[in-house]
Symmetry: C2
Subunit: 282 residues, 2 copies
Amino acid sequence: MSTLTVPNQVPSVSEDCEQLRKAFADLLKALDKELSNDFERVVLLWTLDPAERDAFLANEATKRWTSSNQVLMEIACTRSSNQLLQARQAYHACYKKSLEEDVAHHTTGDFRKLLLPLVTSYRYEGDEVNMTLAKSEAKILHEKISKKAYTDEDLIRILATRSKAQINATLNHYKNEFGNDINKDLKTDPKDEYLALLRATVKCLIRPERYFEKVLRLAINRQGTDEGALTRVVTTRAEIDMKVIKEEYQKRNSVPLDRAIVKDTTGEYEKILLALIGHGDA
Amino acid sequence: MSTLTVPNQVPSVSEDCEQLRKAFADLLKALDKELSNDFERVVLLWTLDPAERDAFLANEATKRWTSSNQVLMEIACTRSSNQLLQARQAYHACYKKSLEEDVAHHTTGDFRKLLLPLVTSYRYEGDEVNMTLAKSEAKILHEKISKKAYTDEDLIRILATRSKAQINATLNHYKNEFGNDINKDLKTDPKDEYLALLRATVKCLIRPERYFEKVLRLAINRQGTDEGALTRVVTTRAEIDMKVIKEEYQKRNSVPLDRAIVKDTTGEYEKILLALIGHGDA
């Protein structure tokens, strides 16, 4: 049976033109709305207080596809313990549910195994480091990674529960003892999305400014800027560590972040981004 | 080579007696200390503020054997979300580590799988119930339990992340639809410690007063009172729900709790327990 049919009454050329005009008008309207949305989204995110903003971003992420898992991990690993907690409290207030409930419900398999302990963590934040533990846990990590047991529960336990200072000591020992950065050993299959999330987790925990530099770099250096990522990083880091992120960006790309933004964005959206990253302060 | 040797100078009978006397004296001293410790322990626990007390009990539990897993679960499931959170904060302050770090490090296998999400939960506490979700999750629980998949991650996810009101709705639907209380279906092997912990988890989440009644009953009705459990329940529930627990106890045992305590304990320990449960108020 044919799926292509000719109407009983063939329309006139002028009727065709009118229909095309209407269709294009609607398309332009949608496009226009889409364009102004970038600006509106920055304003919206910037207006929210940090805990509400994280709750909003996390909630959005739980409704999207695998790539949004990175947003959940980013919120879980780059905020302080109390900031993450306040985001969880804001989540209750805004969505009448717990964050972990939505994360657990909307993720599966390996991703859930990693994300659930990350978003529910309340890490100790002191500087104290137990070197004996660092050595024994570096060994555990190396054993698991050598066996490609990337979802091993001890590996996840170490990354999800230890303090950032302790993880840093463990990963320093890992490098000293076994020769490679852990993230190099976690790059056996560059296309594996779980491994990519695991590497990003490590980076967020010990070098957040490098993680954010990379997110910005990938958002800007591509066919069609990824405004979602650009807006997220700028609005969430503006008052935290944007200065260090800008320095990292300049070092890694040999071009200042503000110039890269000017090249890739326009209008009000460009202006507000530049204001937020402290254009002119650099 | 023999491990039993006779001293070069064989001691006289009077020397032997003196040594035995000293040894017994030390033993009695230790025993006496042990006995008075019951009282001291109530005073210690009662003196701490609730968050510190929970941190103390949880820390102690992470250092002990499997049976202490119940204490961790009890703290995780019978406190309000904010009380559990304050216990985690107190844990940082007291032990320079996170609670989940110690729980994850000191448990293994199925127990870790269940306990870690429980102690890190921050449940939504509103009354709203999603009946569609209750039905679909009751079905999931029934499927998993029918297959004896008691450590299934969806089963644990539901118990560890949903609000208590939602879990209650789910388990009501479970009973209506499938005929049994979920805990009856979880009693296939009464000796299985993991299943016992799972049943206790369900009870703590939806009928905490019945859970505590049972802990008290088992602590009192045995050869040699379990002072650890008795002290824990009395000191942690005195200001919360001891009145309902006493009512449950009377209903289930046909004897008031204070009379059972008088029968099983003595001295200062007895007096302080009676004062804490509100002797005479009943």
